[in-house]
């Protein structure tokens, strides 16, 4: 192939396909390289019949391919037709392996040995990456596959599944589920346990093993694959098994290496970082453009628009306004100053310190997620104790922080260029102080996810936020009229430390007098009493520990260890003692705190002497709850099984107040000493579910509730990411007849989640809705609070925050 294409597009997902279609429409010479034998592999691999969503709704579609919400099959069919009609030049089974050359003369080497020549390249390979390949001899045989579309398709086969993650386990379970298929399924895991997989999956797997459905080979690796056979190395030695099919689910590696090998720089080393891009999607290697999920835009509509736009840019129309322009215009409407969108972007970028490192394109994306707001002097921006996790940057003017809630006139200013609101960002907790505009000001409000993304992408932003955070958090904790200048000396020796769960930062009996600030996560305090470790107290983020030895000297009186993965700041004792000497208020406050803590310890120890059993119970219940991950919860549903009569009114109330689906599974979950932790969202301090939500639909509400908005596209990422298995994918059932007509005339299924049979009998709605993520929203917006708790007749169901519950109040429980 000697032709040099004007544009070579790598990857035929929504972004690449849209680019190719536009190039074809404009008559530009192009080629679309796709490594599989079909278009748009990511969407091709969605579950059968998945409802694909077209968000954000307000964004217009600008592409030569059509796209509307609908079933996966319909979307793919549409695109296939569009590609044909536009005359897109596709090369299937063409996986790009390496890119060499420079603008005007690139060579793309394919894995099949061919070389494609092109003047410019558009990389649209998404972020799915490549599955990790089997490496032993025979790995390229045709019966080795890396995905499983339909477990029902195989009958009477000996199948080996490699990989002990969720994907491998789910595949193995799927293959073994229907006995009539008569498959002999073996799951091979490299390590001894299934630490990476979800508990529910592991449980189901163990049950399948106990029932003889699946054989598990642990600590086993493949050594040879032959037609009809596989040889594996087990701890007992090598073994050869009959095997008709191998399904390898050993994770995937992101495409970053391939991209970097083409000379393209990424914004940082963080795994979540994206390539450095100009406003026209050009990378640091001129002539190579990156669009779509790989550019940081995971929504299909964005991808498609970018495909269109990038071809325009390459064709020389650099003045083209991106399709999100109207959204940004609307966002910036109402603000003083009458600037254009690009003027605003530059204005903010050049004024707010943490935005200095952003490119124009990043700025655009950043502003799509963020808000710009203007405040008049004296207006409140947020109030103390409000829940909010967004970060604010001041573009113009200044704000005043009310550091003393009793005396609103005691304020500290924060000036233009700086940030505020960072404490909620770090620990997900309530606002610590009220902040008002000091003079007329303009601020950007950056939601937590956008702020975290920013920190991952831009090293300067990360450092700035970390520095300011540490300083402010310390000021916040100690209050007592401290100013930033008082802390200079203390902070000079400060050290930020990551602590693993269970790792001790302070050990009882050891010498040491440094002070620790818990920046995120939480700690538990334990003390050896009568030869046993007894739980003393729980120290949440935003608190400190280690003051006793610092103030009074002597060895440590208790052990402080992390309940969950935490971050602490160690402050050296000497400068701090000097600070105490200078600040009698602070000294008095800390001595007060210390006395209160001593009292708690003494009380527990005292009880231990007289009521050994009670304290053991208290201590073991606390440890149980910590083991259940309560340390990272902000609000957790517990059921006291000595009171629960099993009426399931809690579940029914939840279903009836949430479109007929219960967000809580009362019976599932662990129990200890009659305290049961049901499967229901704990509203984690750092919600795992939020980490990878394409439309950013998971948010924190005003009371700390983690909830999923209507923007959910049903991708299932949050379900996979939540370690507590509390998210389900479902669509709301049809509306039930009202309570009265059920009570009086027996109409409908009655209170609670309607059963399947009833659901199926109802007429199908005109517009079918897709499955979306469903989880507890702590009954957000309901004045009475959580319905599950309100509906429990006996008081068995309670919602608690860990710091309130893991207190000596728990001792009373053992006592009565």
């Amino acid at each position: 192939m000697s032709e040099t294409f004007r544009i070579a597009i790598v990857g035929s997902g929504p972004s690449g396909l849209s680019a190719a279609a536009h190039a074809a429409a404009k008559g530009i010479s192009h080629v679309l390289l796709e490594k599989t034998d079909h278009l748009s592999d990511t969407i091709y691999r969605y579950q059968k019949g998945k409802h694909v969503m077209a968000t954000p709704a307000q964004l217009v579609l600008r592409s030569d391919c059509d796209f509307a919400a609908g079933k996966r099959e319909a979307v793919l069919e549409q695109w296939n037709a569009d590609a044909r009609k536009a005359g897109v030049n596709v090369l299937y089974n063409a996986e790009a392996k390496a890119i060499t050359g420079a603008k005007g003369d690139f060579s793309i080497a394919l894995t099949n040995g061919d070389v494609i020549k092109a003047e410019t390249i558009i990389l649209a390979i998404g972020t799915q990456g490549n599955p990790n390949l089997m490496r032993c001899d025979g790995a390229s045989l045709p019966h080795v596959q890396y995905s499983l579309d339909d477990p029902a398709a195989f009958i009477d086969e000996h199948i080996f599944v490699f990989g002990g993650g969720d994907a491998g386990i789910e595949n193995a379970l799927g293959l073994a589920a229907d006995q009539a298929q008569a498959n002999v399924v073996t799951l091979v895991n490299r390590s001894a346990d299934f630490a990476r997989a979800k508990e529910a999956n592991v449980k189901a797997l163990m049950q399948a093993r106990d029932n003889g459905r699946i054989t598990i080979l642990a600590e086993t690796t493949p050594s040879l694959i032959e037609a009809g056979w596989v040889t594996v190395d087990t701890p007992q030695g090598s073994a050869r098994h009959k095997c008709d099919r191998i399904i390898a689910r050993m994770g995937s590696s992101p495409p970053r290496k391939f991209v970097e090998a083409a000379g393209i720089a990424f914004t940082s080393d963080a795994p979540s970082a994206f390539p450095h891009l100009s406003a026209t999607f050009e990378t640091t290697t001129p002539g190579i453009y990156v669009i779509g999920a790989l550019a940081g835009y995971p929504l299909i509509k964005h991808c498609m628009n970018q495909g269109h736009d990038v071809v325009e840019y390459i064709d020389g129309r650099t003045d083209l306004k991106p399709a999100d322009e109207p959204i940004l215009e609307a966002k910036l409407a109402g603000l003083p100053g009458r600037m254009s969108v690009s003027e605003w972007l530059e204005y903010l970028r050049s004024r707010v310190e943490i935005l200095y490192g952003l490119s124009a394109l990043q700025m655009r994306e950043f502003l799509l997620d963020s808000d710009v707001r203007a405040f008049r002097a004296g207006e409140t921006i947020f109030e103390r104790n409000m829940i909010g996790s967004s970060l604010f940057g001041i573009a113009q003017g200044s704000v005043r922080v009310e550091i003393d809630p009793k005396n609103p006139s005691n304020t500290v200013p924060i000036g233009a260029g700086s940030i505020f609101g960072e404490v909620g960002l770090i620990s997900g907790r309530r606002r610590g102080a009220t902040i008002r505009a000091g003079e007329d000001c303009i601020v950007v409000e950056i939601p937590r996810t956008a702020a975290l993304k920013l920190m991952a992408q831009v090293a300067e932003a990360r450092e700035t936020v970390n520095r300011i955070t540490t300083e402010r958090q310390i000021l916040q904790i100690f209050k007592s009229g401290l100013a930033p200048s008082d802390l200079e000396e203390v902070l000079a020796g400060a050290q930020v430390m990551e602590v693993r769960p269970g790792q001790a930062i302070i050990k009882e009996g050891e010498l040491g007098d440094d002070l620790y600030i818990i920046r995120s996560g939480s700690m538990i305090v334990e003390k050896a009493v009568g030869g046993k470790q007894v739980f003393m107290s729980y120290v949440p983020a935003g608190s400190y520990s280690g003051e006793m030895a610092m103030i009074d000297g002597g060895p440590r009186t208790a052990t402080v260890k992390a309940a969950i993965r935490s971050q602490v700041v160690r402050l050296p004792a000497d400068p701090f003692r000097k600070l105490l000497a200078r600040k009698p208020d602070l000294d008095a406050k800390m001595r007060g705190d210390m006395a209160a803590r001593r009292q708690v310890n003494a009380f527990v120890e005292d009880q231990k002497d007289s009521f050994d059993g009670v304290v053991d119970m208290y201590s073991s219940v606390a440890s149980f709850l910590i083991d259940q991950g309560i340390g990272e919860a902000t609000d957790v549903l517990l059921i006291d099984e000595s009171l629960c009569v099993g009426c399931d009114n809690c579940e029914k109330a939840c279903a009836d107040s949430h479109e007929g689906l219960s967000r809580l599974n009362r019976e599932a979950g662990k129990t200890y000493a009659k305290i049961h932790v049901p499967t229901s969202c704990r509203h984690c301090e750092h919600p795992y579910c939020m980490t990878d939500c394409p439309p950013n639909a998971i948010q924190r509400g005003p009371d700390g509730e983690v909830f999923i908005s209507d923007a959910c596209i049903g991708c299932g990422n949050c379900q996979r990411n939540c370690p507590y298995d509390v998210i389900q994918m479902d669509k709301p059932p049809p509306e039930k007849p009202g309570l009265l007509s059920w009570m009086l005339f027996g109409k409908g299924p009655g209170p609670g989640e309607p059963d399947k049979a009833w659901r199926e009998k109802q007429p199908k709605p005109a517009v079918e809705k897709g499955k979306v993520a469903i989880k507890c929203d702590m009954c957000i917006g309901k004045a009475g609070g959580p319905a599950c708790v309100r509906a429990c007749p006996t008081g068995a169901a309670i919602r608690v925050s860990p710091e309130d519950f893991l207190s000596v109040a728990l001792l009373d429980r053992g006592a009565n």
Binding site: Q207, E667, P793, A796
Partner: protein, 290 residues
């Protein structure tokens, strides 16, 4: 400590207190106060010709009593109408129990101890029946949850059923190739086993005629007369049937305790409806005979 309490208008955290202890026995105190006041009024009144429903105090206590009964009966609605405002079913139940008990005093004083074979006394009797069954319910609510929890451990009802189902599949598999007569026995276990059965069965946990048990006995008998090879195959099925028996036992005990927790409601609720009817007749009739 370092963090302050919630400031939102929404009620979030909940106190860890049972319905009987709700708010430090608030409704017990209210009920006792109401009873003491009623008794005092009863003895200080100068009823002519004698105390009873027709006196001013009688009318007053009767009205209070009837109002209470209607309110108590509305618990059935409150329990199921999940509205979004402030309410706590626990508080309702707490008040229900203590104020319900206070009816014994209120209604009795209302009658002036004049009982006879009439609809008035029928209403009174039904009321006592409702109250007595309610008292049994309170006992059940206090005594049984611990057993419910101990029995199931961390197994859910769904898992119990799934366990039985997967044992069925294994039994089915193990019995492949059995001769016709033993296969028929296995089918008894597979097809006729009733996990729960009717309410009475659950209440008395009476499963002596359990199909799985019957099949197991027969398999065991067949095992004794079978040849070595066949006996081994039968033995495998017998082991599975015993496991199924255990799984059934667990599920049935769970249903048994649940049935005990509900049994009293089968008196409490129908008697409530009868009471409301009788009370209506009582009230209508006293005004009709005026």
């Amino acid at each position: 400590m370092a963090r302050s309490a919630t400031v939102s208008q929404r009620r979030r955290s909940s106190t860890h207190e049972s319905f009987l202890r709700h708010k430090g026995f608030l409704f017990l105190k209210v009920a006792v106060f109401v009873c003491v006041a009623a008794v005092a009024a009863y003895f200080f009144q100068h009823a002519r010709p004698r105390p009873g429903g027709g006196t001013p105090l009688g009318y007053f206590l009767g009205t209070v009593g009837a109002g209470l009964i209607v309110w108590l009966a509305l618990l059935g609605v409150r329990k199921r109408a999940v509205s979004s405002g402030h309410y706590s079913l626990k508080a309702w139940v707490s008040a229900h129990v203590y104020l319900g008990l206070s009816l014994i005093v209120i209604a009795t004083l209302h009658t002036g101890f004049q009982f006879g074979w009439n609809v008035h006394t029928l209403a009174y009797g039904l009321m006592l029946l409702v109250i007595a069954s309610g008292a049994i319910g309170v006992w059940a609510y206090v005594a049984l949850p611990a057993r419910l929890s101990e029995n199931r451990g961390e197994t859910t009802r769904k898992q119990m059923l799934a366990q039985i189902q997967s044992l069925d599949e294994l039994i089915h598999e193990a019995a492949q190739g059995f001769p016709r007569d033993t296969a028929a026995i296995v089918r008894i276990s597979l097809e006729q086993t009733d996990i729960g059965g009717g309410f009475w069965r659950r209440l008395f946990e009476d499963y002596r005629d359990c199909a799985n048990l019957r099949a197991l006995r027969e398999i065991e008998a067949a095992q004794r007369t079978a040849g070595a090879h066949e006996a081994k195959a039968l033995g495998e099925v017998a082991v599975l049937m015993r496991r199924k028996g255990d799984a059934l036992g667990l599920a049935r005990r769970q249903m048994h305790i649940t049935a005990l927790l509900e049994a009293w409601l089968f008196v409490h609720v129908p008697a409530t409806f009868a009471l409301l009817a009788a009370l209506t007749v009582h009230i209508v009739s006293v005004f009709a005979y005026w």
